[in-house]
Amino acid sequence: MAETDRLSQTTVASPVISPVTLLRIAIILAVLAAWEFLAHSGWLYRDVVPSLLSIGRAMAALLTDRNYYFNLGVTAAEIGVALAIGGSAGLAVGLILGANRFLSRAFEPYLYYLGPTPKIIFFPVMIMWFGVGPESKVALGTLSCFFPVALNVAAGMRQIDKVLIRVGRSFRANTWQMVQKIHLPAMRHPIINGIRLGLGFALIGTLLAETKLSNKGIGFLIIQTYSIFDMPAMYAMLIVLFVLAIGANALIGKLGGLDSIKRN
């Protein structure tokens, strides 16, 4: 009863908009006002910082343009294929390295140190191997997303509760059953985390490759707006891309239940 009273008092006392939300709104308004001021100040070259209105117009034009959705589809397909190939390969390698300590000590250092190297430098090699079409972009995306998935899965595999493994063995589960019934369910969070990271890296790898050498895809559209100095369109594309990337990242986390991790 006392708890109910306390809760109801809290509800009554709390303002309609929390101070955090108010501060967020204030920051957003301040940034927008500063942007608009800068756009009209003449301190920078014209259109380097376009007015909010022109960015809004460019965004409306972008979102109603069929060509944009075609290019978005191309990029999404490249990223999807890259994530499927790189993610599956990373999962398999991670499972093998996580399950075998000797193999892990033999080969994981190479993955660990190659993982954070800039993958875009492999793009010339990918062009030689796979040509200038979407295949080389998929290949770079695959390479980019393989390492975080493999390293996360291997680390997750080593952190599985030993009791679960003993339970599986006591039921005389074979290797496939162990993977299917024990390892994969116990490693849901490291795998989802790996895929989240992998998606981010695949997205960056694929889009950067498109900006370097391509004739379709979002990366191509961005570099095209740079070439013709259409700054409002470039800002609009970058904003939409950032929203999509952050949204996809959050969605994978939510679907994987990362928000509801409970540790007893």
Partner: protein, 260 residues
């Protein structure tokens, strides 16, 4: 992945696994060499490893790789200094004002997951095709981890240390410089280490993309000249530099850890 997760650090004195790893790598190179010499693999797509190794000397004498290395290192250094000053300062301010932290921390985390490197055409327009575009790309990509780790480090200071400071009636400034900052330093360095790794990746990547600067431009140049062995050698050189850079940062982090 933290250094504690790496299975090869605490390996004792048994070198059999690393030897198998290295042996497999050498065997792979020999197999590639053989396959190319037999003619099963086109040497105009994949040059023989012996040619790649032979090209290393050329990188030093003809391509001035050392100058390029120092150019890239300089860009990384400037980005690193900028990100350390700005990232730590922003983190300290955010941690000091709880409301600001609650309002902005999720934004900073979202900023970290955004593909920031794709804004490089924007900075080319603002700064031109020069080193500042590259430095800013390195700076922006490195900012989030430094801010987040600074907040984490200061927030995680042990209560007993803070109480010791209070019992000595330290002012807020003294409390920060004598208690909070030294206690948070190892965690802040983790952020700086992550930030520097992101900075290096983005600096080399942007150099490659805008064809300007040090090692990234060298790879682009060699690829455009269709100097295959040189391109592969330059890529190997960048990987080597990156790996040595990461190992150096890890060692510095381990050296700093006992301070906590």
């Amino acid at each position: 992945m933290t250094t504690a997760d790496t299975p090869f650090v605490a390996s004792g004195r048994d070198y059999s696994a690393p030897l198998v790893g290295f042996g497999t790598f050498v065997a792979f190179l020999l197999a590639i060499e053989a396959v190319i010499r037999i003619g099963w693999l086109n040497r105009f797509i994949v040059p023989p490893p012996s040619e790649i190794i032979a090209s290393f000397g050329r990188l030093f004498t003809e391509e001035h790789v050392l100058y390029r290395f120092f150019f890239t290192a300089g860009e990384c250094f400037i980005a690193g200094v900028m990100v350390t000053i700005c990232g730590v300062a922003i983190g300290v301010v955010m941690q000091r004002y709880s409301l600001l932290q609650r309002a902005c921390e999720t934004w900073v985390a979202a900023f970290a997951s955004a593909p920031l490197v794709l804004t490089y055409p924007l900075f080319m327009v603002i700064f031109g095709r020069n080193a500042w575009t590259i430095i800013i790309m390195g700076f922006l990509s490195a900012l989030s981890p430094v801010i987040l780790k600074t907040i984490e480090g200061i927030s995680g200071t042990r209560k007993v240390l803070v109480n010791v400071g209070r019992s000595f009636k330290l002012t807020a400034t003294q409390q920060f410089w004598k208690i909070l900052f030294p206690a948070a330093l190892p965690t802040i360095f983790v952020g700086i280490r992550l930030g520097l790794i992101f900075a290096l990746i983005n600096v080399v990547g942007t150099e490659f993309l805008i064809n300007f600067g040090g090692l990234g431009q060298l790879i682009n140049d060699l690829a455009e000249r269709y100097d295959l062995a040189g391109t592969y050698a330059a890529i190997c050189f960048v990987i080597l530099v990156s790996v040595l850079f990461f190992i150096g940062l890890e060692k510095a982090e381990r050296w700093l850890r006992p301070i906590a």
